[in-house]
């Protein structure tokens, strides 16, 4: 009967075969040695569209999305409201079904949208150059470490010890290629701030880069970022910072404290969490020739048409990339997360400076309110670190008679998804978990969490 996605029906295919002098379709596969031919049919069912829809809907309905549960998870994947028009516009099939804009004349729309994404990220971070996206924050960080090593021709990269284990694992894999050494710097036990004396001890002529996160993985701000940058630069190292871009509606941009490379997770800018992917790796840097020529991934540049009049956009500095430079490319990345970048451009264009500020303030004040409410509960230490926080915070449960995992199980019975348990990542914190609030949480939501938590801890006594 044919298939709806295959225009040339079996009858037409027969005619076409005849026209090109083939007896049957098997002739077209005669070059595959018999010994490697598959001698059976693949074992996969075929469904009609309504059956496929029903099946997939049934599968997905067995999930309990964060729109139904009251969730306080963040940790690098932050649920925010995605305005309806963001999805609607990114779903336009001219964007959705296009390839990498290798033909700029026919792809000005995507090129300009990506140039706007790069530009908006630059304004947000205070950098001059941003690429058109990496896979996610973790791979952006990996690429940043490699770039530091290429620029400085040094082989050591310093990172904070309070960073996500998953992100660190990705970084290790990226660093392993050229054999970079990663050194984890300690922190002040009460404030979580990077240990500057350890940093100074480590810094020498072999340090390619110093990395911090601001806000840190556990939600607190790094208040000595300025100083860290100065110390790093003095030793000839590059200064790299990882960010949650929503926080930059409120916080000082990295460009204001001497950062050379900014990485981060762009998902909260108009992209749903989607079980952790598609994500959006932010990668931006200063306009320094030494840096720009070493940037990984795609850079969209403004230029003019050959008539020298009309403004247009092209993929720039392509000689850095794998399709030209092959094994000497700055990275192997080709397909990236472009459409997520377009979503981010639409999102940032819609929020503007005031919207983003207001949003960041709501996120921060919700966290502040939640920390106060939770800290008032007997047995909880909230936040663990005495420092300013943005929208995430770590809770200590060492004085409670339950574990983070057990607390979450009890909360789940009440329709609440608690924060991420941290025992595996940071055993030194004892029982602890990482919580997040955004504009999605109402005051009542936070009150509900606090009441439920108090009840559960009381019962566990």
């Amino acid at each position: 009967v044919g298939h709806p996605y295959i225009p040339n029906a079996p009858e037409i295919r027969k005619q076409m075969l005849k026209e090109i002098g083939a007896k049957s379709v098997d002739d077209l596969f005669s070059d595959i040695p018999k010994s490697v031919r598959l001698k059976r049919k693949l074992d996969l069912p075929r469904l009609s569209e309504q059956e496929a829809r029903r099946h997939v809907r049934a599968l997905l309905s067995r999930n309990r999305p964060t729109t139904e549960l009251l969730s306080f998870l963040g940790a690098g994947a932050w649920p925010h409201h995605v305005p309806a028009h963001v999805r609607n516009l990114t779903q336009r099939s001219e964007f959705l079904t296009s390839y990498t804009p290798y033909q700029p004349e026919a792809s000005q729309g995507m090129l300009q949208a990506l140039f706007e994404y790069q530009s908006l990220i630059c304004e947000l971070t205070g950098m001059d150059v941003a690429n058109a996206s990496m896979y996610d924050w973790a791979s952006s960080l990996g690429e940043a470490a490699l770039m530091c090593a290429r620029v400085t021709r040094r082989r050591k990269f310093l990172v904070p010890d309070l960073m996500s284990a998953e992100r660190f694992s990705v970084l290790q894999n990226y660093a392993s290629g050229p054999g970079l050494e990663l050194v984890r710097l300690g922190h002040d036990g009460s404030t979580g701030q990077l240990d500057l004396s350890q940093l100074r001890e480590q810094l020498g002529e072999d340090i390619a880069g110093v990395y911090i996160e601001n806000p840190g993985y556990l939600g607190f701000l790094e208040t000595q970022a300025d100083e860290i940058g100065k110390v790093a630069h003095k030793a000839g190292a590059l200064f790299v910072v990882g960010v949650n871009p929503i926080s930059l509606g409120l916080l000082k941009p990295p460009g204001d404290y001497g950062v050379d490379i900014v990485v981060g997770e762009g998902q909260p800018l108009g992209n749903p969490v989607s079980f952790g992917g598609p994500s959006l790796g932010i990668f931006a840097c200063r306009d320094d020739r030494r840096l720009v020529r070493q940037v990984p991934g795609r850079l969209i540049g403004m230029t003019k048409a050959a008539d020298e009049k009309t403004r247009g956009f092209v993929m720039g500095l392509q000689t850095r990339e794998q399709h030209i430079r092959r094994e000497r490319a700055t990275s192997s990345i080709c397909t990236n997360q472009s459409l997520c970048a377009v979503a981010a451009a639409i999102y940032l264009s819609s929020l503007g400076p005031r919207g983003l500020r207001e949003l960041a303030e709501i996120c921060a004040s919700n966290a502040s309110y939640a920390m106060r409410k939770l800290n008032a509960i007997d047995g909880l230490e909230t936040p663990i670190f005495d420092a300013p926080h943005f929208n995430e915070f770590a809770i200590g449960l060492n004085k409670a008679k339950t574990s983070a995992v057990k607390l979450n199980a009890k909360l789940l019975e009440r329709g609440i998804q608690g924060g991420k348990p941290l025992a595996n990542e940071f055993p030194e914190l004892g029982e602890a978990s990482l919580w997040c609030t955004t504009e999605l949480h109402s005051r009542e939501d936070i009150d509900r969490l606090a009441e439920a938590t108090a009840e559960i801890l009381e019962a566990a006594k």
């Binding site: 996605y5 026209e19 090109i20 379709v25 040695p33 598959l38 693949l42 075929r46 997939v56 599968l59 067995r62 999930n63 999305p65 964060t66 729109t67 690098g76 609607n88 001219e94 959705l96 079904t97 033909q103 004349e105 792809s107 000005q108 300009q112 140039f115 790069q118 530009s119 630059c122 304004e123 058109a132 996206s133 973790a138 791979s139 694992s169 989607s274 952790g276 992917g277 403004m302 230029t303 009309t310 720039g316 392509q318 990339e321 430079r325 490319a329 990345i333 080709c334 990236n336 472009s338 264009s349 819609s350 503007g352 500020r357 303030e361 921060a364 004040s365 502040s368 943005f390 789940l412």
Partner: protein, 503 residues
Amino acid sequence: MTGYRQARWGAEDKLEPLVFELGDKRRVGYSLPPKHSKSFKIPKKLLRTELNLPELSEPEVARHFTRLSQMNYGVDSGIYPLGSCTMKYNPKISEELAGLEGASSLHPYQSEETVQGALELMYRLERALAEVAGVARVSLHPSAGAHGEFLAMLIARKYHSSNGDGKRTQVIVPDSAHGTNPASAAMAGYEVVVVPSNERGRVDLDALKATVSDRTAALMLTNPNTLGLFEDEIEEMVKVVHDAGGLLFYDGANLNGIMGKARPGDMGFDIVHFNLHKTFGTPHGGGGPGSGPVGVRKKLEKFLPAPLVEHDAKRDRYYLDYDRPDSTGRIQAFHGNFGVLVKAYTYILMMGSEGLEEATEAAVLNANYIMRKLLKVKGYDLKFDASGPCKHEVVFSAESLKDGTGVTARDVAKRLLDYGMHAPTYYFPPIVPEALMIEPTESEPREGLDRFVEALEKIAGEARSDPDRVRSAPTATAIGRLDEVKASREPILSWRMYCKNRE
């Protein structure tokens, strides 16, 4: 006149303004809930004082990005014969399902009991991909093809080091390989060694024999290769590499040419990657997000990154298995591009075994149809073996056209845009002079193929009668040819750089 005209929004000297040139200080394009608590304790010195973002209302945003989209060509616009990119139709049902809250509003750290459907979907997708490629297990983590290649190289490294074999520092790639192959091998710390193709457009077996040694970690190969030709000596190649102690990596970019006909695992490949955004119908989105799962044979299973999705049959529960002590470690912070996985799974359901095989047959037939028709057109030739069939794509050379008229493959490609057709990949693979790499996919109807060949024939005629018309193409797109040299010499990569330059 070709009768085609792409939308062009804008004024005389520029297209649609940049978003920074739109809007007004008092406009609002958002609505937020009220702030219910005013306080947060962040010292003033950590706060920013200014943020230069544009201020637009929602209708302006919608209009701006709609206009941009209209100046962009996609698979839904017309033929998209971009070689090695498999620009097939992207089913709308997949978009609908991936957009459901049961997929889009899941958090990667939710308790397993609240994401059973997602885990089952991943488990089933893994089984389906393993069946198509003939491998034991598949990691769904990689976000794109090159990401998958990188993971494959990490697996190869881990395998050799687990054998106490530290000497294997080289990865072999054919001269016809995708650029990502050598780049990914280099990222994993390997030295890249190139092996030449023979006059039949296949890897030169003798050269391969001379290249392998006890330093060989792996051979990276796509089959069908980038010339669209099946590497028919694959079994000998596998033996040569395996005998030398190396592994074989299959670049899955060209899997659309063999589904249901042959499987990389059965050919002897040890590590296989998939491009779900090529073979399995998920959209490219102008350059991503894609998904590049990696499958391995049994002996390499333990090196796949944690976690894998497992099924506890007794309790009928799906779970994430993090207990993988030999794993390579992560290349992705979470579980891969899950939204893309939902789309690929839906596509596989809609195709089934028969549909996938039919897609391959129709795609290969379309490529052969173009090959046979275009061979009759003066100016376009095959540089390698033209006796047998091609697979999903075919690489022509416009060298004779260039010699006769001065019109290049690039000019031909640009002129095709004027006919409302996307250009083939050109100047790749590098072993074909004036290459035009054509992959029509199964999504193109016969009359579309006919029109494409006719257009190429007309362009060859124009090249002879009016070469300037071809050289000055395109003129029917939103903008004509762009100054790419200027873009690289004086890079303007953001609005900020543009404003600084202007000052």
